[in-house]
């Protein structure tokens, strides 16, 4: 059973126009890696050369910022949702 990854609008064109893609993996990092393998143009937008998330891109696992829950090592379960949000706003 896959999880769902929500992409920001600007990246959808790199995933066949989809803002929502399904992914497999035991962790957030593994799921992101699996999606990156299917859509290679996404990879450098989602992770840096070392495979880590960029500081200006935030990943949410079911609405929780993964930096509070283990980062890319955070475990995922079937049906979970990961949302990718570029950090853009200040209050």
């Amino acid at each position: 059973m896959p999880i769902t990854i929500h992409l920001p609008n600007v990246l959808a064109k790199l995933a066949d126009g989809q803002r929502t893609v399904e992914a497999d993996g035991a962790t957030v990092g593994a799921a992101v890696g699996e999606v990156s393998a299917r859509f290679p143009a996404l990879r450098p937008r989602l992770v840096d050369d070392a495979g880590n998330p960029y500081p200006f891109v935030t990943y949410y696992l079911n609405d929780e910022d993964i930096r509070f829950t283990g980062g890319f090592d955070a475990l995922v379960r079937d049906g979970d949702e990961v949302t990718v949000v570029p950090a853009v706003a200040g209050g």
């Binding site: 990246l11 929502t20 200006f56």
Partner: protein, 446 residues
């Protein structure tokens, strides 16, 4: 007013179905901001990290690397000299060559040019040579420095023909967007944390804005607005218009230089929420240095102020690290309560590059800061201003500010917005009958 939970993606996109075809931000059928757009044009954009170029538009992030994009200024454009600037109307548009448009702006023409108030008693409290307050608590129309950035955003919205202005806000931006939109005659959608201070909610609703409380912190509100940014054809001031919006903060630096007689102070203390203000202060000072408008001396050292209950940028500065650790906010300084600041890492780097530092102060110190500023300058500021004053006192106490320093404190919002913070610390007021002897009794008690 409506309260919702921050889950638009889950609500709109769950089920694994492909999203609808992607459209660029669009103009709706009756683009009210587009009317009379005249010759105003927004500048093209470039990525701050990878230099990718983009046409002018309501975009804030690079599609190559997701880093922020910024306006590109023509290095060969004609720049005014001091006399030319001084002869212009007293608003932030007197610096229009450094703002992200060509042509004539038509909205929010009176924002900016707030007082720079010398504060000798505050200088004594800080133990510095001289001190000034850059008093954006009297900014117009909405009593915070957010008027500066919204003046940019609403003109950008007009340039792009976007029909609605919106924002994610900790309060001051909500007030500013609602006020600027009201006088421009355009609808506003305002997204705020559900538990925002009453003064900031009322100071938004009164302008007729559609206010939506989101259950969660500002960071949840921010995420929600990032996710809806290009769904409704809106100009979201601090999201898809952020590239233009942020440039308005530079005018704080421009005004400080001009109001000091075309020179730099040695140090500036500013509050940090998303971190943008500090970075734009440095950019503004550097641009005036580059234009030959500011005399002598190095660029000011920049000091950042945050609350201990939400101080991710201050802690990054103090640790000299390179990766910001987000926090869950817990402070009375709600306008600074951004646990995941978008410009945090850049702000920390900027502070270090200028030789500055940062302080994170307790809520008790913030309230004392409000009182100190009021009692030494006659200026009533909100919690963000109290944070700035408290941080300046801490920086002075720890030797980061020197006795020879000439310091400007950026006071960014008015105290009537957050009366809840300071009210419990104020003495009760006596109630008497309309009789002279009762006044005499009170006077004798003192």
């Amino acid at each position: 007013m409506t309260t919702i939970a921050p889950r638009p993606a889950a609500a709109a996109e769950s089920g694994g179905h492909p999203a609808p075809p992607l459209d660029p931000p669009r103009t709706l059928s009756t683009p009210r901001l587009a009317s009379g757009a005249g010759a105003l044009r927004a500048l093209a954009l470039a990525c701050r990290e990878c230099d990718a170029a983009f046409e002018a538009g309501p975009i804030a992030i690079c599609e190559n690397c997701l880093a922020p994009v910024e306006p590109v200024y023509d290095p060969d454009r004609s720049l005014p000299d001091r006399d030319a600037i001084a002869s212009r109307p007293t608003s932030l548009w007197r610096y229009r060559e450094w703002l992200p448009f060509t042509g004539t702006p038509t909205l929010s023409l009176d924002s900016g040019w707030t007082p720079l108030v010398e504060a000798p008693a505050l200088a004594r409290a800080l133990g510095v040579e001289r001190a000034w307050v850059k008093n954006d608590s009297v900014s117009h129309p909405s009593l915070s420095f957010k008027d500066r950035v919204v003046a940019m955003a609403i003109n950008a919205a007009r340039a792009f023909g976007l029909d609605t202005l919106a924002c994610a806000s900790t309060g001051n931006l909500a007030n500013a967007v609602a006020a600027h939109a009201a006088r421009a005659g355009v609808p506003a959608w305002i997204f705020i944390p559900h538990d925002l201070e009453l003064g900031k909610v009322i100071g938004t609703l009164v302008f007729g804005a559609r206010v939506v409380r989101v259950r969660g912190t500002y960071d949840d509100v921010n995420r929600l607005c990032a996710q809806i940014a290009d769904r409704f054809g809106w100009g979201i001031a601090n999201v898809n218009l952020r590239s233009y919006y942020g440039e308005g903060s530079k005018t704080v630096a421009f005004e400080i230089v001009e109001q000091l007689g075309w020179r730099f102070p040695t140090a500036v203390v500013a509050p940090m929420a998303g971190g943008s203000l500090v970075t734009k202060l440095r950019k503004g000072f550097a641009e005036f240095r580059g234009a030959g408008l500011a005399a002598g001396g190095p660029l000011p050292r920049l000091y950042g102020a945050q609350a201990a209950g939400c101080g991710p940028i201050a802690r990054l500065v103090q640790s000299r690290g390179d990766r910001l650790v987000p926090e869950v906010p817990n402070t009375i300084a709600r306008s600074l309560a951004i646990g995941n600041p978008a410009d945090g890492s850049l702000a920390a780097r900027t502070i270090h590059e200028t030789g500055g530092w940062a302080a994170a102060v307790s809520d008790e110190a913030i309230v004392r800061g409000i009182r100190v500023l009021a009692e030494t300058t006659g200026i009533f500021t909100e919690t963000a201003g109290g944070t700035t004053v408290a941080a300046a006192l801490e920086l002075a106490r720890s030797g980061r500010l020197a006795p020879s320093d000439e310091v400007v404190l950026c006071i960014t919002g008015h105290g009537l917005k957050t009366v809840e913070a300071v009210a419990p610390t104020l003495t009760d007021t006596p109630t008497i009958g309309p009789r002279v002897r009762e006044v005499e009794a009170l006077v004798r008690e003192i």
